[in-house]
């Protein structure tokens, strides 16, 4: 999980942040400003500083905030000057906006504030509607205003072109002052501020509500804050019935304020259209005698503090009733409270001024259970850049300090006022105060063991001060002098060594730092262990007993919930360090020594004890093992239904632990006992088909794949299903000798259920002319939940979840249901994914009541799925399977193609029809879509790559022997930004950061092929080739606009060694012709096939697709893996398709497989085996689903669309 921040201000006005992944309050940069109030959301934090000015702290992202400015240059033709700037008097300005009404010249554009900068100069846009224009970018028309085209015609009298320039927000990760208002009523200094409202609407993107209270008690609202304008534009006053002292704005539509007199105000009427709301309602203070002093709101909660410091919880608050129903007094006395994400509650206690978090706040128990203090140390001087990753430098000066500091810490004057100390700290020359707590610091290095024993008994109080540049001289006056001298000697020794050898992560061993001290030993081993002290700051500068006094806390951007594991509650550093040591102990470098030794010894042992005695008899020679169970089976014959069967797996194994097995299904038919069987070594895939009614899974063999009719079985419970799947999976893998993680060559695929499958490619997979038939490929499941996976031949594998989170493969295997044996121990992590479930509300118009939920008898259900065939009410709709849980409530979805009105309705003449977002005369029906988010939590070999959400990604295909250092990996963010990943290598497949590549429009698909050819498709369907991408210049230099196939919008592209294939929105597959090294853009698109959903072209130019409507002998299959057969260097288009596993497959990547097939010289190219066909299946969606490629369709059988395992 990516981390997020809790913000707080101490009583001296200094701002600190605490990361959900961290264990320290970190002093915010820009520490010269003192703050009174803060209010944060995930992307930024607003604050009122001591100068009463408002400041904004935007978190930097790899994708900058950039804004496009545009203006149009207009010209008219006249016979003398041809096209020129001389326009008619009635014409528009020579430079104008798109409508022509507003005059805007290039130099009239000004940056909105000092926090912006221009990205480059103005340039001309050379495209129109996704098609490239002539050089110069002119578009022509008969007259203004009119339809412009890229072609100049005889009657083109006017022309115009678009100029573009980008500006970029530059004041990220720093406090940027919001310029005071130039015009309008200037607000008096602000006293309180609160940000929220991002859930009201996502139009425009990143819109926020910012409410502020002035010293005079007026309420102001900042207009126009959204992603592209983080500062907003203007303050507008919101009238209030009294003087307000404090205000709180929740993520959604709750806004509460506290009046000077102690009553509370509730804002009503906040909606998508009117985010400022319409009116105030007064709510009385919780206590009759004492007025309220503070209020905090979330999505469904309101907390208040009265002037006597009592804390109150408001009952019955929701968006229909923002006022709630009554107050409940809570335990604890707080100065202030704050409600953060997920309605979590934070507070500052009166008693000790510590920050508290409310424990046990869940959606069902919003008031939580208890207050728990956050006890972590502060780390004043440490800056981000110096933290753990700058190993060598940090290690260098750190190792020198440690002992001296620990000496001084013992001696340190604890009574000196914290204020003085802080100022000392700030100067960073004097050693900081250390607590006298006993601490333990992790020790990991193997050779540290003995010395640990020595030092263990007399462990001294902790030391600290990794940041101090000097040796702590100022504070050493009152120290014992003896150890001090020793330590200085040691210091020089150790730093000398440091220079010689690199301080490495793997040598981190903070424990030993103390050894020389405590044992006063100065032998070289220990000194060298000292030199490896480094890099991870586990010290506290302020002890727990001398704890900071807080004034303000804000958790508005802090993503925690009641399950989040936080390291914030350690009363001693011991606990925190233990977490470290545990996590460190699993890094390979750390474990190498002892682990390797065990591995070696075991193999030695086996050799010693077995080598010469293999002829000895085994105690147990061979055996059969049967596991039985009761299941249900979807019977093969009509009428299809679930019937109870006996299920048995028989496994035989020989002494060499080779094994095989048979699956038996015993059923009764007409009182006759029968059985069905499948050999384990013939099973090609096991697919879980978990839904809310059946715990089912499907078993495929090559034969069953051809039929498109798997053996479908259902277990009684989910657990039982998982047990069976785990066992069957293991048997299948064993019988095929597949163990361990997927190879670098592996083919990855995902289903529409998010399941991930991997196939080890056989060497003859791409053989010509007889490749391995696709239906014989064996797929095994890998844990996790992803929408797509991409890989390359170096074993770099990335995936994207349904919530667009990017994940990188850790190189492990297993996870999900295959726990235990079939799963690696390391490298398996928790993975979550979120997707939306949609239902439709349908209404029909009648003359009496207008639109109502009373439809005609022939109408669809008034609450239905998208087709209207199935009734789906809010109450009855369940998450897709028991693995999913709801994480939001039902909300109206406004983002549907066709648009909606303000209430989310779409209108049409009748069901079913095409819907539009406004009401016309003849519209008798309307519908709107409701969405509800659900979440799955599973495990798999995946680690999140925060924070940017991705839409698509591509990895440079390489052969497994490739010596490429840094691998090109490109992504497209879910907002359409094109990103290039920096620092992706075999050793660190996650890379380090994103490099943003500027584009004029959002993108949706990208692919990089051999020789760094890069192709991408924008959301409007325009296709681009990126020029000059190379190993030296990984970002390339410019985009070349490529015309699309006629009347088609491309949606996905894949580039192999030389071939470029693309899929359009109507499911056509196109091959790019005429690519040459000197002209890599090619010349034209050639149609290859239809019914294609997705294409993946491999490093050998092999072509694999996901195709729809593939006909099997029993049933039809959507989402089917298909392989282009006959692809050869001279025949890159191949000649026909071979069909593999199908039924809900969503994505495949072949891009890891660079194994050349063994070349067999065949006298006659045999074509008979595979039907020659240009299209995947069903031509034009027509008659009966028979095509040339489906010669095996059984005539008499009815096709069943839902015959497949994973229907989608």
């Amino acid at each position: 999980m990516s981390s997020s921040l809790l913000w707080a201000v101490d009583v001296y006005g200094r701002v600190y942040t605490l990361s959900t992944a961290g264990q320290y309050w970190e002093l915010c940069k820009d520490a010269h400003l003192e703050f009174k109030r803060l209010t944060s959301v995930q992307q930024c934090c607003w604050g009122i500083a001591g100068d009463h000015q408002v400041y904004l702290y935007m978190h930097c992202s790899d994708v900058p905030i950039r804004c496009q400015e545009e203006t149009y240059e207009n010209q008219r033709w006249n016979p003398v000057d041809r096209f020129c700037e001389k326009l008619l008097p009635s014409d528009r300005w020579q430079w104008s906006d798109v409508t022509g009404l507003k005059h805007q010249t290039l130099d009239s554009f000004r940056l909105p504030s000092e926090h912006w900068e221009w990205e480059a100069d103005w340039y001309v846009d050379e495209s129109i509607d996704g098609e490239p224009t002539e050089k110069g970018g002119w578009t022509y028309a008969i007259d203004f205003p009119a339809t412009y085209t890229k072609d100049k015609k005889w009657n083109s009298c006017v022309r115009r072109r678009r100029w573009i320039r980008y500006r970029r927000y530059k004041s990220g990760d720093t406090w940027a002052k919001i310029p005071s208002q130039d015009d309008g009523p200037l607000p008096d200094p602000f006293n309180d501020i609160s940000v929220g409202g991002w859930e009201i609407t996502d139009e425009p993107r990143g819109r926020l509500s910012l409410w502020a209270v002035s010293l005079q008690g007026k309420v102001w609202c900042r207009e126009g804050i959204h992603h592209h304008n983080p500062e907003g534009c203007v303050w507008t006053e919101v009238m209030t019935p009294g003087e307000v002292v404090q205000i709180s704005c929740g993520p959604s539509d709750l806004v509460w304020a506290v009046l000077w007199e102690g009553q509370l105000l509730v804002r009503e009427g906040i909606s998508r259209e009117n985010p400022k709301g319409s009116s105030w309602v007064v709510v009385d203070s919780p206590s009759t005698e004492v007025g309220a002093s503070h209020v905090a709101v979330g999505i469904n909660v309101v907390w208040a503090v009265t002037k006597d410091r009592k804390v109150w919880f408001r009952r019955g608050v929701n968006s229909h009733n923002p006022c709630g129903t009554g107050w409940i007094g809570m335990v604890g006395e707080m100065v202030m409270v704050n409600v953060g994400l997920n309605d979590q509650v934070w507070g500052i206690s009166c008693e000790d001024r510590a920050v508290y978090i409310r424990q046990g706040v869940t959606s069902s128990e919003l008031s939580g259970k208890t207050w728990k203090a956050i006890v972590v140390a502060r780390d004043d001087n440490r800056s981000h850049s110096e933290s753990a990753n700058s190993l060598v430098s940090a290690g260098c000066f750190f190792s020198g300090e440690v002992r001296v500091q620990s000496q001084s810490s013992v001696m340190n004057d604890t009574e000196s006022s914290s204020e003085t100390e802080r100022s000392q700290t700030a100067q960073s020359t004097s050693p900081t105060h250390a607590d006298a707590m006993k601490r333990r610091i992790p020790k990991v290095t193997s050779d540290s063991f003995i010395s640990e024993l020595v030092s263990d008994k007399e462990r001294k109080p902790g030391r600290d001060g990794r940041d101090d540049q000097e040796e702590g001289a100022p504070l050493e006056q009152d120290q014992k002098s003896v150890p001090q001298e020793t330590s200085i000697e040691l210091l020089s020794q150790s730093s000398g060594q440091l220079g010689a050898r690199e301080s490495q992560w793997s040598n981190v061993d903070l424990e030993e730092a103390q050894t020389p001290l405590t044992a006063a030993a100065s032998d070289t081993t220990e000194t060298s262990s000292l030199s490896s002290v480094a890099t991870y700051n586990l010290e506290e500068q302020y002890g727990v007993d001398e704890h900071p006094l807080w004034a303000w806390v804000c958790g508005g951007g802090c993503a925690v919930d009641s399950h989040t594991h936080l390291n914030w509650f350690n009363t001693s550093t011991g606990v925190s360090s233990s977490v470290q040591s545990m996590s460190l102990s699993i890094t390979p470098a750390q474990t190498a020594a002892w682990r390797k030794r065990i591995f070696e010894q075991l193999s030695e042992r086996s050799k010693r004890e077995l080598e010469n005695f293999r002829h000895y008899e085994q105690v147990i020679e061979q055996s059969v093992w049967v596991k039985k169970g009761i299941m249900q089976w979807w019977r093969d014959w009509k009428p299809n239904k679930w019937i109870d069967v006996q299920f048995a797996l028989e496994q035989f194994s020989g002494s060499d632990s080779n094994r095989d097995g048979i699956l038996f299904i015993y059923y009764t038919f007409n009182d006759e006992k029968k059985y069905l069987h499948a050999f384990i070594n013939e099973i090609t895939i096991l697919v879980p088909v978990l839904n809310d009614t059946k715990h089912a899974f499907a078993v495929y063999t090559p034969e069953r794949t051809k039929q498109r009719w798997p053996i479908r079985l259902a277990a009684a419970t989910e657990q039982e299903m998982h047990d069976w799947l785990a066992l069957l999976n293991l048997s299948c893998c064993d019988s095929r000798g597949i163990h361990g993680p997927p190879s670098k060559q592996a083919i990855w695929s995902t289903t529409c259920k998010g399941d991930i499958y991997v196939c080890e490619p056989a060497p003859n997979l791409e053989a010509v002319p007889y490749p391995l038939p696709c239906d014989q490929m064996f797929w095994r499941q890998i844990g996790g939940h992803l929408r797509l996976v991409e890989s390359n031949g170096l074993g770099i594998v990335w995936g994207i979840g349904y919530d667009h989170t990017a994940w990188v493969c850790t190189g492990g295997y297993g996870g999900g249901f295959s726990q235990g044996l079939a799963s690696s121990t390391d490298n398996i992590h928790t993975q979550t994914d979120v997707k939306s479930v949609y239902i439709h509300e349908n209404q029909r118009w009648n003359p009496v009541t207008g639109y109502s939920s009373r439809g005609l008898p022939t109408d669809r259900y008034m609450w239905s799925n998208v087709s209207g065939l199935q009734e789906c009410t809010k109450a009855s709709t369940k998450p897709p399977s028991p693995q999913w849980t709801w994480v939001s409530d039902w909300c109206i979805d406004y983002n549907i193609s066709g648009g909606t009105d303000m209430e989310g309705w779409q209108y049409a003449a009748d069901f079913p029809a095409t819907y539009h977002g406004y009401k016309k005369m003849k519209d008798f029906v309307r519908r709107r879509r409701w969405a509800r988010k659900c979440k799955i939590t599973t495990t798999g070999p995946w680690l999140e790559v925060p924070p940017i959400a991705l839409w698509d990604l591509t990895i440079l295909p390489c052969s497994s022997q490739s010596s490429v250092e840094e691998v090109s990996l490109w992504g497209i963010s879910n907002k359409g930004d094109v990103l290039c990943r920096i620092g992706v290598t075999r050793q660190s497949p996650a890379g380090t950061s994103w490099l943003h590549i500027g584009t004029d429009q959002p993108f949706k698909s990208i692919s990089i092929g051999g020789g760094y050819q890069m192709w991408a498709i924008a959301r409007d369907g325009s296709t681009f080739y990126r020029g000059s991408v190379s190993a030296e210049n990984p970002a390339g230099d410019c985009w070349y606009h490529i015309p699309s196939p006629p009347r088609q919008k491309l949606k996905q592209v894949s580039v192999g060694r030389t071939s470029v294939y693309a899929v359009d929105e109507n499911g056509n597959l196109w091959y790019r012709q005429g690519l040459t090294p000197s002209y890599p853009q090619g010349s034209s698109w050639e149609h290859i096939s239809n019914n294609v959903r997705k294409v993946s072209v491999g490093p050998l130019d092999q072509v694999w697709i996901i195709a729809d409507k593939v006909q099997g002998s029993h049933s039809l299959s959507c989402g089917t893996v298909c392989h282009r057969v006959g692809v050869q260097p001279m025949e890159p288009k191949g000649h026909s398709w071979d069909y593999g596993i199908g039924g809900g497959w969503e994505h495949i990547t072949i891009r890891g497989n660079s194994q050349e097939a063994p070349r067999i010289v065949m006298p006659v190219p045999a074509e008979s085996a595979l039907e020659k066909s240009g299209c995947v299946a069903e031509e034009g969606g027509g008659d009966g689903g028979r095509t040339a490629s489906n010669s095996s369709v059984l005539g008499g059988k009815e096709e069943e669309l839902n015959g497949n395992a994973v229907s989608c």
Partner: protein, 275 residues
């Protein structure tokens, strides 16, 4: 690097080449040939010596055959110790194969327990598993298991079925990451030189402060002389599954990989030998 799972296999498939020779004083009809067998380290003697018995039956009269018992260089071998342990304890530094002498007479009542049938071994095995789980999870895991799961564990051992055994045993090996390990590490330290059968105490896999305990930590606490001695010379050999892991090996990890020992007793056992 190989995965931890491979270690599990290596541990499970550990075999000791053994030659069984009939004791010279046994009454035979003709001379008995020695019998050679690869004994699984993780199993029990009486579970795997049916073949031995049958072999010697051929040359002996039924009435001369009492309960079979085995002896190595004068030590009667306890059937309720796992085979690997017996070997490491008594014979680890000798040449292979392991020469075991087979007796059918004069059962050493004071040294050995009778083992009349496999049920006795099963009962012993299950009690060991339960004892270990009490230490690991307060016995919760084993108690929640069904009878058939218990049976599967046992059958897995009896039939040398790695997967069958581990399909169940993995549940016994689970622990939450936050806790960093089991409640207590089930272990027994066996010594060649001591009269005590073994050392067994409560020992946590992580310290109170949350650091991982290593093998060294355990020994230091349970058996200090095994780790260091005054002159710094190593006097003891710490053997687990026939190998000598480094003292820095985290205990929990060691237990995870050597967990097949749950079979025998309480998993990790340390035959310590004076060198």
């Amino acid at each position: 690097m190989a995965d931890d799972k491979d270690v599990l296999r290596d541990v499970w498939f550990g075999r000791i080449p053994t030659s069984f020779t009939l004791y010279q004083d046994e009454i035979t009809e003709r001379e008995a040939d020695p019998y050679y067998l690869l004994l699984p380290r993780v199993s029990y003697l009486t579970l795997v010596t049916d073949k031995v018995k049958k072999h010697f039956q051929k040359v002996m009269k039924q009435e001369d055959m009492g309960e079979m018992w085995l002896e190595y260089e004068g030590t009667s071998l306890k059937w309720h110790y796992p085979i690997g342990l017996l070997f490491d304890l008594h014979a680890s530094n000798t040449a292979l194969p392991w020469n075991i002498t087979v007796h059918f007479q004069n059962f050493p009542e004071k040294d050995l327990l009778h083992c009349t049938s496999n049920y006795v071994i099963e009962a012993h095995f299950m009690s060991c598993i339960k004892e270990a789980d009490v230490l690991k999870h307060k016995g919760q895991v084993i108690n929640e298991m069904q009878k058939k799961d218990h049976k599967q564990l046992w059958m897995g051992l009896q039939n040398d079925k790695f997967d069958q055994f581990w399909a169940i045993n993995r549940k016994l090996m689970e622990y939450s990451v936050e806790e960093g390990g089991f409640r207590y590490i089930p272990f027994r330290i066996y010594q060649t030189t001591s009269d005590r059968p073994f050392i067994q105490k409560l020992f946590r896999p992580v310290t109170a402060e949350g650091q991982t305990h290593t093998l060294g930590d355990l020994l230091k606490e349970m058996f200090p002389t095994a780790v260091t001695s005054d002159d710094g010379e190593k006097k003891y050999q710490v053997v687990i599954h026939g190998i000598e892991p480094m003292l820095e090996t985290p205990l929990q990890w060691l237990f995870n990989i050597s967990a097949t020992r749950t079979i025998s007793s309480t998993s990790v056992s340390f035959p310590c030998q004076q060198t």
